[in-house]
Symmetry: C2
Subunit: 418 residues, 2 copies
Amino acid sequence: MEFLQCISLKAAQDLVVRSLKRGAAGEEKVQLIDAAGRIAAQDLFAGENLPPFDRSTVDGFAVNSRDTFGAGEAVPVLLSIVGQVAMGEPSLQELLPGQAVAIPTGGMLPSGADAVVMLEYTEQMDTDTLLISRVAAPFENVVKKGEDVSSADVLVKHGQTIQAQQVGILAACGYSTVPVYKQLKTAIISTGDELVAVSETPKMGQIRDINSYSLGAMLKETGCIVTCMGIVKDNYEEFVRAVSWAAKNSHLVIISGGSSVGARDYTVKAIDALGGVLFHGIAVKPGKPTIYGMAHGIPVFGLPGHPVAAMMVLEQLVKPAANFLMGKETRQQGVTVWARLLRNIPSAPGRDDFVTVHVKIEENSYVAEPIFGKSGLIHTIAEADGVIHIPAEKGGLYTGDLIEVALLKNWLREEEAF
Amino acid sequence: MEFLQCISLKAAQDLVVRSLKRGAAGEEKVQLIDAAGRIAAQDLFAGENLPPFDRSTVDGFAVNSRDTFGAGEAVPVLLSIVGQVAMGEPSLQELLPGQAVAIPTGGMLPSGADAVVMLEYTEQMDTDTLLISRVAAPFENVVKKGEDVSSADVLVKHGQTIQAQQVGILAACGYSTVPVYKQLKTAIISTGDELVAVSETPKMGQIRDINSYSLGAMLKETGCIVTCMGIVKDNYEEFVRAVSWAAKNSHLVIISGGSSVGARDYTVKAIDALGGVLFHGIAVKPGKPTIYGMAHGIPVFGLPGHPVAAMMVLEQLVKPAANFLMGKETRQQGVTVWARLLRNIPSAPGRDDFVTVHVKIEENSYVAEPIFGKSGLIHTIAEADGVIHIPAEKGGLYTGDLIEVALLKNWLREEEAF
């Protein structure tokens, strides 16, 4: 299979998305504490004003700001204390000119008041008399009703992942449960006569089933529910049964392995028998022998057997598909940083290349060092900080180029020990 | 409480870590598929060589490279085919000079062979005779035993978070279960007479309990198991009982709210009664009224009532403490990017300031725009992309400064719609 017979990465990505229905995973409601990391199934409107009342931001006295005009250290203003606002209680008292009310941080401003003077700029002469030694500007130390959130605001947009720091604002607006897309049910089938289970000791010529775990872990991180169906040996009837069962019980099926021509043939033949193959072969390195199709109307990816190639294709094709089925509106797939390249990287035009890199910090900016090694060596991805993409129209990258690195780790900064 | 009476952030962080025992959460074994995101409880050694045998990276013929010297399109070399290597089977046959063996990608090289010639550079004359039209270099198309991973390699270091893309290499080395630190049991108590449950409609003067949810979601993201104990009204006996129960049933306790002087007093008094207060007040904005101590030997944080201040202190003090208790070796807390500042930010020297920012991409680099707003407005953090830290020794930052931004979102790149 030559690269010329393969379709481009862009064409493959478009074809995959066009073959799917956005949000096919369905919707559910989850408890607010479990909402972070899930995808909003609708625009989450505030529905109310925050704060719901004019609120003090300090401990002090609520006043009418006009009453403080001209106040200073030398010429304090005199007001009568007519009560106090209790935390969590409404302020029913109407403040008249010349009056002040004690108020705690977070307390509700009484009507008639429009500012709060901090405790330290006041002096209480007796229970009824207050000296104020500083002018209060209108709305000083006050958050006005609706100033934080207005009831028409959208807190999280449909199709966006809910971030941990957005959970607070959802709580503030009364979302005890949140409508989200369901987690996608995915099934992984490993194939290959050379594979043995992770718990087994491989005999000569055998290797352990890596892909079920690496692909499973990456899909779980994306928010999927993963069923590892284990290893199906190269027996066609058994293989078709497994793919058929997986398609009937999942939203997405991944067939991993089968890097031999025979196993690839099985995958193509099985998908054709259960639905149809949409493409076979993509102009991507690593990842060329990728197969995509439908079985019982469910998307099925046949990924390369090489662990690194399988992970790269998962990242580029399967994760966007999973996110699309889970209702996501954007392809966003993590954090990227710009880095200076420390070495030349050759690449063939007409093919999208993905190269793993180490990322380091030099003089407040990032540098990227390609991890070279024979194709398929798993340490090249296990120790990588990120991946760079050399697009099909480029014939390689040069030392010093400023490149975008998609980070593989969920942290990246100078490590500071405890 | 003036900033002068407060201890510095650095002093607070050091005091917290010195008061704790690293790894106090304890250890357990988890299934490999669940290991990503967990912290390794020991150095995870490879224990075996990968590959465990010399392996072909292509479909072709295994040969002794010396037999191909001088081969070319015009002058092919002639070898006798003496068998084929089956996938997943050991190659027991010893290759003699002048012989070749058919081998699939991933197949085990027979002894006597040191290279593989790709199918496309061979021609099979009959079942026994092979023409080779290209020289094979020693170890061409071969991954040598141990070339990927050597048995003495450490795959994941003690105290490091296991990344999804490291799960594959653990599978390859036979880790069906992985020793990790247990998830930390944390309890959150909300205090404040003004608070009502998220499911309730606040009456005038009341607000919903935000912090249980925002802090809980952030701690869950850090890998903790969170128990929200709900709202304890400002009743001292009830409060002490709640803190005592929490300390006896958790590894870490968070008391949130109590921004009023009375509530702060309760927190200090309760911690003192159950153990002892270690500090009260930190020179951090926002976050000044932070309390830390021990109850029944368990760390207890009294966080500010302002939701944004509480989240900032959680990030700077509580998360590192949680990670330390979960055995983490480094303070790493996510991804940072460098960005040019788009506005001046004033700051008082002697105080560590944290300011939320929007991060955008302009001409292949990041720019950061501070989100201004009155202290405590929750939208300032809900819509933020990241946070910048103005250290105590600085008197503010200036437009154009290159600053480090700690990202709050787990994605950040130009959004590309499907």
